[in-house]
């Protein structure tokens, strides 16, 4: 495996058992993602893209196959190993933002820092990130007091605060209007370009997918097309 490959996946399979029926969500996926890549994954509902995303992020275990993420062998990792991956190497941005509703934006970010075992005070570099995201003035507001676009930018700030090796974004623009969508996508591209942040983004939207260096098309649990764009 190349040292610059941050995600290495071979013959990955995931089968969900629902009652007495086995449903194959992934049917043998091979994928390499180099460090610093902005990868878009597209595909219809049920194509397996979310399952792949969840396995890469350590939220669930694969049934079969080989997977290494940021040097961690997730094929054999238990719950604590996957928790460690999420705590230190991977951050998520979700379509539904998933901010803790009872905490302010500042405390949402501080909680992520605390869980990661990092100082909960923001350093200068992070203040620059907050400026870039345009949420400095919204830090003391709770999610219910913010617009969808602001919430997604807070979620992005929370994801970046722990300086993750990989940022996983699941439909990050799915709940935003076109103006806010464009702002978030530009931010992701900017972060990737300026900081070399590795980003995997799931999207239904072809325009959004075009912001990535590469677009993977998934269907029926497999990668059916792998198109490089900007690289």
């Amino acid at each position: 495996m190349n040292n610059d490959v941050i995600i290495h996946v071979r013959a990955l399979r995931k089968i969900y058992r629902t009652g007495h029926v086995d449903v194959a969500a992934l049917r043998g996926v091979d994928l390499d993602v180099p460090r610093g890549e902005f990868l878009s994954i597209v595909g219809p509902s049920g194509s397996g893209k979310s399952t792949l995303f969840h396995i890469i992020g350590g939220l669930t275990q694969p049934t079969e196959g080989e997977i290494r993420v940021a040097g961690h062998d997730l094929s054999a990792a238990g719950d604590s190993g996957r928790t460690e991956l999420r705590r230190r190497y991977v951050s998520f941005v979700f379509q539904k933002f998933n901010l803790l509703p009872n905490l302010t934006a500042r405390d949402n970010i501080r909680t992520a820092l605390f869980i990661a075992g990092l100082p909960t005070q923001f350093d200068n570099a992070f203040h620059d990130t907050l400026d870039l995201l345009g949420i400095q003035g919204r830090l003391d507001h709770k999610p219910s007091e913010m617009s969808g676009g602001e919430q997604q930018r807070v979620a992005l700030a929370r994801a970046l605060a722990t300086k993750p090796t990989i940022l996983l974004a699941d439909e990050p623009t799915g709940n935003l209007d076109s103006r806010n969508s464009l702002a978030v996508l530009n931010l992701l591209r900017d972060l990737n370009a300026r900081l070399g942040q590795t980003i995997l983004m799931i999207t239904h939207n072809a325009e959004a997918a075009a912001f990535g260096h590469r677009i993977l098309h998934m269907s029926d649990g497999k990668i059916v097309d792998d198109a490089g764009i900007g690289l």
């Binding site: 969840h54 992020g57 939220l59 669930t60 719950d79 604590s80 928790t83 460690e84 991956l85 999420r86 705590r87 230190r88 998520f92 979700f94 998933n98 901010l99 803790l100 509703p101 009872n102 905490l103 405390d107 501080r110 909680t111 992520a112 605390f114 869980i115 990661a116 909960t120 929370r158």
Partner: protein, 366 residues
């Protein structure tokens, strides 16, 4: 940060928090009220026994100090016999009879000998026992039963004429002629116990020694020593009752807290999923849940203590004679430990469910 998260969790849903605290407080208040009632009852009994002003108590053969609040197994001939003993200046026999489903009793007294030993009643209204069917009520019982001077009241299936209302502090809350009471219960010439007053309280030990030798098998107690017997442990029935209700309260508190925490965890499924997606360990999630349960336990304890003052006011206003309630400070930490322990135990099961929850399912929870 954990404290911050716990505080934000409990303050974010104030109604749920308030309900949980109230449910825990209910359990604490029940424990403190029950314990307070037992202590109040014993304290009131001790004071009323002391209020007689005797030095020695003479009990029937085979009886324990507080074993019988009922019945008349002792011949009243002992009253005159004991009066002739050295250093004895006054004796009086008292017959007790339970009057209902509570621990309330009626005291049958010989008014003349009782007054000689104990001094006169302090009359708020009316006069002493003049006719066989006269009854004296203390202020607590009169207030509780809304009885008025001159009224006829029915006690142990007999109509009595309220002849006087007196200050509380001696024997039971109701007093009638011992002869009438004995006739009613079919035990003429009998009493439950005999009080003895000495020329000098310093002779108490000497007289007890003499009486114990002369009246073998009859328990004789100094009134001072009797104080130590007024504890829950001395009365098996009261102890059984107290233990039963305490265990029920603890179980109830545990179930209430467990349900409350189960609902709390269920409501926060998505938030737990978020924490897990951020890399929170099982220990971190369960620490938050337990810390929240502990905080609710402490809050419930404080509120329960405050509410126990309310139940004391209520009981002492409505039933000052039957159910006086004391505030027993020594039981605050015990009730607190029971409630908080129950809260923590109650949180363990939903907490264990929460940490085992699949983060993807938790994040999808609406």
């Amino acid at each position: 940060m954990i404290l911050k998260l716990v505080w934000e969790n409990v303050s974010f849903r104030p109604m749920r928090t308030l309900l949980s605290v109230l449910l825990i407080a209910f359990s604490v208040t029940s424990i403190l009220t029950l314990v307070g009632m037992t202590h109040g009852f014993l304290d009131s009994s001790r004071k009323r026994n002391e209020g007689v002003g005797a030095d020695i108590l003479f009990r029937p053969k085979g009886s324990s100090v507080l074993s019988s609040m009922n019945g008349t197994p002792l011949s009243d001939k002992f009253v005159t016999q004991l009066a002739r003993e050295p250093h004895v200046v006054a004796t009086t026999g008292v017959a007790d009879q339970l009057i209902g489903s509570t621990f309330d009793t009626i005291s049958g007294i010989d008014q003349a000998s009782f007054t000689r030993l104990s001094g006169p009643f302090v009359f708020l209204q009316g006069h002493g026992l003049e006719k066989p069917d006269d009854i004296l009520l203390d202020r607590y019982y009169a207030d509780q039963s809304h009885a008025r001077l001159g009224q006829m009241i029915k006690v142990i299936n007999h109509q009595w004429h309220v002849a006087g209302i007196v200050e509380p502090g001696k024997l039971a809350h109701l007093f009638v002629s011992v002869q009438t009471l004995d006739d009613l219960i079919g035990s003429p010439g009998k009493v439950t116990r005999i009080y003895i007053k000495l020329d000098d309280p310093r002779n108490t030990d000497l007289v007890i020694k003499q009486l114990s030798a002369r009246y073998e098998g009859y328990p004789v107690y100094s009134m001072k020593d009797l104080e130590s017997y007024y504890s829950v442990d001395s009365i098996p029935l009261l102890k059984y009752f107290t233990d039963t209700v305490l265990v029920t309260s603890v179980l109830f508190g545990f179930i209430v807290v467990a349900l409350s925490m189960y609902m709390a965890v269920l409501q926060r499924t998505r938030e737990i999923g978020i924490l897990k997606s951020l890399g929170a360990s099982k220990g971190f999630v369960i620490a938050i849940i337990l810390a929240e349960a502990g905080a609710l336990g402490v809050g419930g304890t404080l509120m329960g203590i405050i509410l126990s003052f309310g139940t004391r006011w209520l009981l002492n206003t409505l039933t000052p004679a039957s159910f006086p309630q004391a505030i027993v400070v020594e039981w605050w930490p015990i009730a607190g430990a029971i409630a908080t322990g129950g809260a923590l135990l109650g949180a363990i099961f939903p907490g264990a469910l929460a940490v085992r929850q699949d983060p993807i399912e938790a994040l999808a929870y609406e």
